[in-house]
């Protein structure tokens, strides 16, 4: 901040001061644009809220809902929303499932599983996708040929069949699902990074870096990667939604997160059996709405991020 005392200083000092007040960086500019996008901000807010619920699932269930997610009590099965055992006991705000477990508590813990899995998957996707895409784009030749062909092959298999096949063969624990999901979703990022690398590696500044003696690793990670990161971040964000949908679908089919660990997907597949029972409506409707809201929030945020990071793409 320029005070009156600083302004009255000599001219060279004023120039130095101006140099200190740098023009806003990419992240700062992007944030300014992102902030103005109301839908994107709403999406981010919803995600933040869901994230907080997921992180603090245990204290919330201890103090607010006062139920444990896996505690069974068959005496109180399939109770409607707002049920109380006695006037003084805690309320089952969304009722109970067939084993008498509190639905709201299980939903909160389900958020923990689904969101954490999605985050882990996207991080893995980014790692595999960026490295393979960078190698293919930077080195070209047979490295590119092998990686690109492999991507073509994986894209030709109906992803969901492949997921079913892999989960059946490996029977992964719930964190292993992240590896499985990442193994069928890294191709988009890889193609994107490859394209960016192909475009950037012929730029003059890359040649300049090579002339001053930078090795391949340095050129890839220090010079090209930072310049190709924006579209990758956008693609990765938009992929979170797809990952959540795939995970919940797998869990719904009984191949993903295994009960008693609650996941929005396996809660739905359990609930479907009671589709005819009026008091079990919340059991079927709410997990789906939560999946929908989460995916919608991620997508809105991703769209906002895209517009913010690359204004040229905005239609």
């Amino acid at each position: 901040m320029a005070t009156s005392a600083q302004i009255s200083q000599s001219l060279p000092d004023a120039f130095a001061l101006q140099a200190q007040q740098k023009s806003p960086g990419l992240a700062q500019l992007a944030w300014r644009r992102f902030r103005r996008d109301k839908l994107a901000m709403l999406g981010a807010l919803v995600l933040l809220l869901l994230g907080l619920f997921a992180i603090f699932a245990t204290p919330i269930s201890d103090s607010i809902t006062q139920f444990s997610p896996e505690k069974i009590n068959p005496l109180y099965s399939l109770k409607p929303s707002g049920f109380q055992r006695t006037p003084s006991s805690p309320t089952n705000w969304l009722g109970t499932d067939d084993l008498g477990r509190d639905v709201l508590t299980r939903l909160i813990f389900g958020a923990q599983v689904s969101l954490f899995l999605a985050l882990l998957t996207v991080m893995l996707t980014l790692t595999i996708g960026t490295i393979s895409g960078a190698l293919a784009g930077y080195f070209g030749g047979w490295v590119d040929l092998i990686i690109s062909r492999f991507i073509d092959i994986l894209l030709a298999v109906p992803v969901f069949f492949l997921l079913v096949l892999i989960t059946v063969v490996f029977r992964p624990p719930w964190w292993g699902l992240a590896i499985v999901l990442a193994s069928v979703s890294w191709m988009t990022v890889a193609r994107l990074v490859r394209g960016e690398f192909l475009a950037i590696k012929v730029r003059d500044y890359v040649d300049a870096a090579r002339v001053v003696g930078a090795n391949n690793t340095r050129i890839i990670f220090q010079h090209i990667m930072p310049n190709s990161i924006s579209p990758v971040i956008v693609a990765a964000t938009l992929q979170i939604g797809g990952v959540i949908l795939a995970e919940t679908a797998l869990s719904y089919l009984g191949l993903g997160v295994q009960p008693p660990t609650p996941s929005w997907g396996n809660m739905l597949s359990n609930a479907q059996r009671f589709i005819e029972i009026e008091s079990a409506r919340a059991l079927i409707v709410v997990p789906g709405i939560l999946i929908f809201v989460t995916v919608l929030a991620v997508n809105l945020m991703g769209n906002g991020l895209r517009d913010a990071l690359d204004p040229r793409l905005k239609q």
Partner: protein, 319 residues
């Protein structure tokens, strides 16, 4: 055109070989594959009997030999026999189920096209109108709805509450085959499967149309005094659909994969349901057969999309 076709056909061969290899490797090279499962089956089997079984099943041969054998059989249309339903050929199981999956995915594809194309065109023609904004909202929300939940909700409303549509199956049990009856059963699964495609495709059509509408030949067509409807549907839409042909090919894996879930929810006896049941029972030859078959469908679909692209865009033929 002939050369282009042949080149694309040849290009798809290594892709198919790659798919078969990956699927084969997944099942055969990892722990928990068919060999070890047999060992787990019965602890009372004597080791020498075990060897005999492994030999009779060809499991004592090295993997590359088994892969070659499998590919040789595949070339003859032989996908082996089911482990669970002893003696039943996998190829027979698939040919029995495939028409039902094709019926389901085909209707969903048609339905999605019939809704998404007019929706996208209207959105583009009336850009930023209320209609366009509503369509945008529908698309944004539509791609976020999990298809299995949508299916359950449809069953809840249209089968359980209103009792308008059956909740599953291909036709009413005990009734003779009747086209109307099948369509009645097909309605809900087809809509559920088409839904996500409608939501995403209409965006692509809109973007593609917007690009075409701004071009000179559209202005020329209008300047000639052609009726607006003619300009939009004949001149503009034709060109806007060209890039869409590729997208259509690319959405096939999703559509066929989506059929797996939809078939399970609506008890539709197609190959998706077959794959799922086989997966539950660890019936490896059947899973392998279905994945090979569906991958082949996808590759053929992409090929067809490329050929359509060649026909729609004369510039491709010349190159």
């Amino acid at each position: 055109m002939g050369k282009y076709l042949i080149r694309r056909l040849i290009q798809s061969i290594p892709t198919f070989l790659g798919v078969t290899f990956i699927v084969f490797a997944l099942i055969n090279l990892v722990p928990g594959g068919p060999g070890s499962d047999l060992l787990l089956a019965d602890p009372n089997i004597k080791p020498e009997d075990m060897e005999r079984i492994r030999h009779s099943l060809g499991l004592d041969k090295p993997w590359y030999e088994r892969y070659a054998l499998y590919m040789g059989d595949l070339a003859h249309g032989d996908l082996g026999t089911s482990l669970i339903q002893r003696g039943v050929k996998v190829s027979e199981m698939i040919t029995e189920r495939l028409p039902k999956t094709l019926l389901l995915t085909g209707s969903a594809l048609l339905l999605a096209l019939l809704i998404a194309v007019p929706l996208g065109v209207m959105s583009a023609v009336k850009q930023y109108s209320i209609f366009d904004n509503l369509a945008t909202m529908f698309s944004t929300a539509g791609v976020a709805i999990p298809s299995f939940w949508l299916s359950i909700m449809m069953i809840l409303f249209f089968s359980v509450s209103l009792r308008w549509f059956p909740s599953g199956g291909v036709q009413t049990l005990g009734k003779d085959f009747d086209v109307g009856d099948v369509i009645w059963h097909l309605a809900m699964p087809a809509v559920a499967l088409a839904f996500i495609s409608i939501a995403s495709w209409n965006r692509y059509i809109r973007a593609s149309m917007l690009e075409v509408i701004r071009q000179d030949f559209i202005r020329t067509a209008r300047a000639k005094g052609l009726r607006e409807r003619f300009v939009i549907f004949k001149h503009a839409l034709r060109n806007a659909l060209i890039p869409f042909a590729t997208l259509l090919g690319l959405s096939l894996p999703g559509l066929i994969g989506g059929a797996l879930i939809i078939e399970r929810i609506f008890s539709w006896p197609g190959i998706g349901r077959l794959a799922f049941d086989a997966a539950q029972q660890r019936d490896y030859p059947v899973i392998m057969g279905v994945v090979m078959m569906s991958s082949m469908l996808v590759i053929l679909g992409n090929l067809a999309a490329d050929i359509a692209y060649g026909f729609l865009d004369p510039r491709i033929k010349q190159s």
